[in-house]
């Protein structure tokens, strides 16, 4: 019995080994085709979001930069590259860089917080010309890697790193949120407005504070109720939070909840089908493109893609700006945040008001709170 077991085992093994060898030989010819583009999945999602920002980001230097032979890397946070939020925006921007300049672009996804450091290191030790860390949590990892590798260049989004070889880009989300607050304050019929946040983090608090200030500026009688779902990737919780707010008489909800916010749109659509017109204000990009004009009042755009494109382009032009003093904080003045170009649901007089407040914020007449 035992002998037979041994024999069949070795037979199976021989078979397997030979198969592996055959297969890997086959794979060799096919492998080169796939090597050029690490991910095909994101090209499909690129088209809707790319067009408005492409024109905007191409303007600073119209002449195409030659990025041949340069290598740009990007590390996502745990949201992954298809998160429909900043990771995806950043990767789409880098893909455009690759297309426009011929630079080699590549990303690595982080599955756990512990991966940030090792993934950054992979690019840095691989001799990449620039390595992006996307998200708030890269602060410590980017600082450490930058200190250990003073010749490497890094860049981070949504956080500020005090190192001469790291370029930091943050956004004044409170300023853009102020403007959508103005829209909400002038549009509400019930004088009750809702806010759905992902988690109680400083960056989300900035959205809430700016939004509240914007509503209060134009409509002191309106109340803003905030509801935090505790997660950025749970549409069911977002839907529940939206239902609670709509039931309580709120007719507009501004969400800053990433994927959980999809549930807010979902709930609004359900109510629209039942004959109740309620509104949602989208976040990060023009969400009317994805969810339709029937429930999307407007969106608070945060142009991560534009920032990634510009900074990377600058690097290819030899104009890398690291260090704390060069940290970029993109607000209304810099065009880093704001409303989409087309707002079919917002009447012109409201848009005029928005423009008026925008100028006041840019001129410094109004200081928008951050918390």
């Amino acid at each position: 019995m035992k002998k037979a077991g041994m024999k069949s085992a070795s037979l199976v093994l021989t078979l397997i080994v030979s198969l592996v060898l055959i297969l890997s030989a086959c794979g060799k010819s096919g492998g080169n085709n796939g090597a050029a583009s690490p991910s095909a999945g994101s090209s499909a999602s690129e088209s809707p979001g790319a067009s408005p920002s492409e024109s905007a980001s191409a303007s600073p230097s119209a002449a195409p930069v030659d990025g041949k032979g340069k290598k740009i890397g990007m590390v996502t946070d745990v949201g992954g590259v298809n998160d429909k939020s900043f990771n995806q925006q950043a990767w789409e921007a880098l893909q455009r860089i690759g297309k426009d300049t011929g630079a080699e672009v590549k990303y690595l996804e982080s599955k756990k917080d512990a991966d940030y450091e090792t993934n950054l290191n992979q690019f840095v030790k691989g001799g990449y010309d620039l390595t992006w860390g996307i998200g708030f949590l890269f602060q410590d990892a980017a600082k450490k890697i930058a200190d250990q590798n003073p010749n490497a260049k890094l860049a981070v989004i949504d956080t500020t790193v005090d190192a001469p070889n790291v370029e930091s880009v943050t956004f004044k989300e409170n300023e853009g949120s102020f403007l959508v607050g103005v829209v909400a304050g002038l549009t509400t019929k019930t004088n009750k407005i809702g806010f759905v946040g992902g988690m109680q983090l400083p960056v989300i608090k900035k959205f809430e504070a700016g939004f509240k200030a914007g509503v209060a500026a134009v409509n002191p009688n309106a109340t803003v109720t905030a509801n935090y779902v505790g997660d950025f990737s749970k549409p069911d919780l977002g839907k529940l939070a939206a239902a609670t707010l709509y039931d309580a008489g709120n007719d507009i909800i501004f969400h800053a909840a990433g994927g959980s916010g999809n549930g807010v749109f979902n709930e609004a659509k359900d109510r629209l089908k039942a004959g109740n017109q309620v509104w949602v204000i989208g976040v990060d990009k023009d969400q009317a493109i994805e969810f339709g004009d029937d429930v999307t009042l407007t969106s608070m755009m945060k142009k991560v893609d534009q920032a990634v494109y510009t900074v990377t382009q600058d690097l290819l032009n030899g104009k890398f700006q690291g260090g704390l003093t060069n940290a970029k904080e993109l607000g209304l003045a810099e065009g880093g945040v704001g409303l989409p170009e087309k707002n079919p649901n917002v009447p012109q007089d409201v848009l005029d008001k928005v423009e008026e407040y925008k100028q006041k914020i840019i001129s410094g007449e109004i200081k928008v709170p951050t918390e």
Binding site: A9, C26, G27, P38, D113, Q122, Q148
Partner: protein, 370 residues
């Protein structure tokens, strides 16, 4: 010696080896269909794991928490309990260590660090004991209570970090005091700045403790007896209730220690997170891979850690997309975990007869896979 020989008896050596090869083969087919070079992908994986001192160090760092949670789940399996709550115990261990590591001031390293470790381990152990008490006193199924306790642990720790030790304007706690750090600076330097800490040594000690406790003490004999057949154990005069409680507590301590070293050794702070890191769930796979034997769990955690850390290399060097990398890793784990399938391949006429003897091991894999 008999125990050692039991792990290495012929069929047991063949099964995992064949399983790994089959898994690699299956992954190769997936990559081949996707148009990627399987050979260069696997060599990229190996290169990523063993290519430099930094990578070796970081692979060890990846293995450490998997080993802790694997031991945790495996220990509970031996006592007939399915501790799906290792995740929550891990988080509570982290939280305990974080708070002690930040809030205690002015203590020398030799006092502060051990206190933080012990408190974290105890908090993890007590978190496990909650499910143990519910099970032993009221017969509440530990799977259900553990799943719920995982969520409670996640949100409780987020709340505690946010209210007690939050770094202003950040999404994480403050840094722990240097006196609580368990990072080994000179070793990190030697390993090209990889994050090295005391965790792996303590984990290896826990492997020994696991073995001695279960197979060299009366207590362990009782735990295993309860695991094999609780009714028979009761008739034999063993206190089943206290055994269940003890095993959950010890299991929780193992998981809690994993969390402790994650904070004190790797990160030095705790993040407010929307979802758990999932080490507890990985620990279930590690325990099943290792047949709930300490040496097996050690080997299982090494395999799991190598695959986890090396997969980034497949993505980076061989340009295999992450989705396919995850399918490949899934294939390998699937084949390694399905002992019965391989056994059937090797010896179709006598399926599972010999494996019946393994009792708790089988119980475990039935629970995990079915």
């Amino acid at each position: 010696m008999t125990k050692w020989s039991r792990i290495f008896i012929k069929s047991n050596v063949w099964i995992p080896l064949i399983a790994i090869v089959l898994g690699l083969l299956c992954g190769a087919i997936v990559m081949w269909i996707g148009g990627y070079n399987a050979w260069s992908a696997y060599s990229a994986l190996w290169q990523k794991v063993s290519g430099s001192k930094y990578d070796i160090g970081e692979t060890i760092r990846t293995i450490t928490p998997l080993l802790f949670t694997g031991l945790s789940v495996g220990f509970a399996f031996r006592a007939g309990l399915f501790n799906i709550g290792a995740d929550g115990q891990f988080i509570m261990g982290m939280t305990g260590a974080t708070i002690v590591g930040i809030k205690l001031h002015g203590l020398p390293w030799i006092v502060h660090a051990p206190i933080a470790v012990i408190v974290g381990a105890l908090v993890g152990g007590l978190w496990g004991a909650i499910a143990g008490v519910l099970k032993s006193s009221r017969g509440v199924n530990e799977v259900i209570s553990c799943i719920m306790l995982n969520w409670i642990a996640l949100y409780l720790s987020n709340y505690l970090v946010r209210t007690l030790v939050l770094e202003k304007g950040q999404q994480r706690s403050q840094m722990i005091q240097d006196s609580a750090s368990l990072s080994i600076g000179w070793l990190s330097k030697a390993m090209d700045n990889a994050r090295m800490d005391g965790g792996i040594w303590v984990a290896l000690i826990c492997v020994a403790v696991f073995y001695v406790l279960l197979w060299r003490t009366k207590q362990g004999y009782e735990l295993r007896a309860v695991g094999h057949n609780a009714d028979a154990a009761k008739v034999a005069g063993i206190d089943v209730k206290s055994s269940l409680l003890k095993s959950m507590m010890i299991s929780g301590i193992f998981a809690g220690l994993g969390g402790v070293f994650e904070v004190l050794g790797v990160f030095h702070y705790q993040v407010i997170s929307a979802a758990s890191s999932g080490y507890g769930f990985d620990g279930i796979a590690v325990a099943l891979l290792g047949g709930n034997h300490p040496i097996g769990i050690l080997l299982g955690s090494i395999l799991f850690g190598v695959l986890t850390y090396g997969s980034a290399g497949m993505n980076f060097t061989a340009n295999v997309p992450t989705e396919i990398v995850r399918i490949v890793i899934g294939c390998i784990i699937f084949f390694v975990a399905s002992h019965g399938f391989i056994q059937m391949l090797l010896n179709p006429r006598k399926p599972r007869r010999s494996s019946k003897k393994k009792g708790a091991v089988e119980r475990g894999s039935d629970l995990g896979l079915g």
